[in-house]
């Protein structure tokens, strides 16, 4: 165990020096672009990349929501439904203030409602995990069942549509040629980067992911940190809910259900340790771009939707196998024997 921990630290030190992780991911991104460019003449065009820029943020925000719990050694299976519920809260506020004609104050109130809903769901989850020590997979799973049930109960399985133009601008508009959701996403990445690398909470998150008990004994407030981690995760789900509402001009419980797989995929492609403790925001953001390029490429090539689902599953296995082989090679190299 100590040897393993040591080697992980060494690996981190090395990667900081040359950062082969980011270089490797950028190379992979380039490779993927070239492959799809060769496969389809239409791929390497401004239209493709604009549509990628519009689609990426949704997935990206949800991935950020998944990232912090995974680094803390947990999981948040409820992300998509929390986002749905938050979108629902915002749509409800907008509808209460006149639907399509809702004023700026109502929109602001709606955004606050969405973020508050997401944070509240996250807080509850975090509080249960922190105070009871129950497994995060379990707590987030039952939270997911509850939130989905609540959403379905409130909407009776239907959807709420119709938002003011100003809200749609968040999802569909551009600012100086940059898609508005991309700006939201960039802001969120920056926020997460600062939280993870510049704050006590970020440090506590990594330490909790490495060893919860040891962290508690060294005097870090693990309960408060865990609650905060899941609250922030819920907050990010709220943001994702707003972007989803704005992009589709409607909200339905169950939208984006399949994203859970891809968010996990993005985290692990981005070098996050599946056992927790290690992971950085920037590589994950690059991994996201790679995945979105692949998704759009497959779409452009007219791949069957179900075949694409199977491919994502196979791709996740492939990444994990490569990581596992790389890790064991690395250990052999470091210590001569395993």
């Amino acid at each position: 165990m100590t040897i393993q921990a040591l080697s992980r630290d060494e690996a981190r030190g090395l990667s900081r020096l040359a950062d082969p992780e980011i270089i490797g991911l950028l190379a992979l991104l380039l490779f993927v672009c070239i492959v799809f460019g060769a496969a389809s003449g239409k791929f390497l065009s401004a239209t493709t990349f604009t549509s990628i820029a519009f689609q990426l943020p949704e997935l990206g925000l949800l991935t950020l929501a998944m990232l912090m719990p995974i680094i803390s050694g947990g999981f948040n299976l409820a992300i998509t439904f929390t986002a749905n519920l938050s979108g629902l809260a915002m749509a409800a506020v907008l509808h209460a203030f006149g639907g399509v004609d809702a004023g700026p104050l109502a929109i602001l109130l709606g955004i606050v409602a969405a973020l508050a809903t997401g944070s509240a769901v996250g807080w509850l989850m975090g509080a249960i995990i922190a105070t009871t020590g129950a497994h995060p997979i379990l707590v987030s799973l039952s939270m997911m069942i509850f939130v989905r049930g609540l959403g379905e109960f409130l909407t009776r399985g239907g959807d709420i549509s119709g938002t003011p133009d100003a809200v749609q601008a968040i999802g569909q508009g551009t600012v100086l040629g940059v898609p508005a959701p991309m700006i939201v996403f960039a802001g969120a990445v920056l926020l997460w980067y600062v939280v993870m690398s510049r704050t006590r909470l970020g440090f506590a998150t990594r330490m909790i992911g490495s060893n919860l008990e040891a962290t508690r004994y060294s005097g870090l407030p693990t309960r408060r940190s865990l609650t905060m981690i899941y609250t922030l995760s819920g907050f990010m789900c709220g943001l994702a809910g707003i972007v989803m509402l704005a992009r589709f001009n409607s909200v339905r419980v169950g939208h984006g259900e399949a994203y859970v797989l891809i968010t996990v995929l993005a985290c692990f492609l981005g070098g996050v340790d599946p056992f927790g403790g290690f992971g950085r925001v920037l590589p994950v953001a690059i991994a996201l771009v790679i995945l979105q390029v692949i998704a759009s490429g497959l779409n452009l090539l007219g791949a069957n939707q179900h075949l694409a689902t199977a491919l994502w599953g196979g791709f996740l296995l492939l990444i994990m196998v490569v990581r596992s082989i790389w890790a064991s090679r690395f250990l052999q190299h470091m210590f001569g024997k395993r």
Partner: protein
């Protein structure tokens, strides 16, 4: 009580179930009738078969969310194979379904054991792999042309009551057989003890000579076997094979099994707990239905029940209660 396998969780579940049963009998006229109770049992059988399979994996320290989708794959493969060889019978059907299921379970175990990948990640991947391939190759088309033996209802116990006929079907027999087999595996073989040991402390189990590889293949293969059988039984119950019929079932089963006291992280869980957990959830839904509550509220209420159960049954709260009770209790737990 201990010797019967009735621990604290099981005791709580029994109390809640009894209270709920009494309440429902008082407030509805249909709950405490033989047809309703037999239907409840028939309808829960498939989930219980899934549940005991999943219990083995949870005890061994893993988790699997691909089993329900795997069962759909098995249904499809079995129905196609049976059609191809022209008929078959229950024995052949069970062998085929069990074999396909165990193979898919071992597929999971392969990645988890050989490459040391966390089981939730592997099964999220295989969940999508299985489901995507199934939907792609089946084009989402359902199979209705099943052999006669599979679609004929077989009642084992049939009682005429004032409220209509009450049947216990072959589903219940299959469920009892699976429960008994799993009980034997977990409680009456040294292999079962090794599964508990591995789930409790993998490194410790390895050092006393437990073959981790064999245990991984056994646990996931067993769940696959059970999922295959459950898939066949579900096809019998529904009298058709719909590719996405079991989609999402894994979460219901997982939640109910955990409600029954199995611990994510391994080493703890009992068959009785699984039975109680699944029947309690089924009873809740049945009761809500009879009380005329909107079906849209079911999931929400079940979610709340499970959240509350986790909160109450967790170690943290247990410790808290232990400290309220005073020092002697703490000493005992320390030992």
């Amino acid at each position: 009580m201990r010797s019967l396998g009735i621990g604290a969780t099981e005791r709580w579940l029994i109390v809640v179930m009894l209270l709920m049963g009494v309440g429902l009998s008082l407030f509805t006229s249909t709950f405490l009738t033989l047809p309703n109770l037999f239907d409840l049992l028939n309808a829960s059988s498939v989930n219980i078969i899934f549940g005991v399979g999943l219990l083995v994996v949870l005890i061994a320290g893993g988790i699997d969310i691909s089993f329900a989708v795997a069962a759909s794959v098995v249904q499809y493969l079995t129905a196609l194979t049976l059609g191809w060889i022209g008929g078959g019978d229950w024995a052949l059907g069970l062998i085929l379904a069990g074999g396909f299921g165990a193979a898919l379970g071992c597929f999971n175990a392969f990645w988890i054991y050989q490459f040391r990948i966390v089981s939730i990640v592997v099964t999220i991947a295989t969940y999508n792999l299985f489901f995507g391939l199934l939907m792609f190759f089946s084009s989402g088309v359902s199979l209705y042309d099943l052999p006669d033996w599979l679609t004929t209802r077989i009642a084992i116990v049939s009682v005429e009551t004032a409220n209509g006929r009450a049947d216990l079907t072959i589903l219940v027999v299959a469920m009892i057989a699976c429960v008994a087999a799993t009980w034997l595996l977990l409680r009456r073989t040294s292999t079962g003890r090794q599964l508990y040991a591995m789930g409790d402390n993998m490194e410790g189990a390895r050092r006393i000579g437990v073959s981790l590889g064999a245990m991984h293949y056994l646990a996931f293969g067993w769940l696959g076997l059970m999922a295959g059988i459950a898939g066949l039984m579900q096809a019998h119950y529904a009298q058709e094979v719909v590719p996405n019929a079991l989609y999402g079932r894994e979460l219901d089963v997982l939640a109910a099994v955990v409600l029954g006291g199995a611990r994510l992280g391994g080493g703890r869980g009992s068959i009785l707990g699984v039975l109680l957990g699944i029947i309690l959830v089924a009873m809740t839904q049945n009761g809500l239905n009879l009380l005329g509550i909107s079906p849209y509220a079911f999931k929400m209420i079940v979610g709340v029940i499970i959240l509350v159960a986790i909160t109450l049954s967790s170690e943290g709260v247990g410790k808290l209660i232990g400290s309220w009770r005073g020092a002697p209790m703490r000493q005992r737990t320390a030992q």
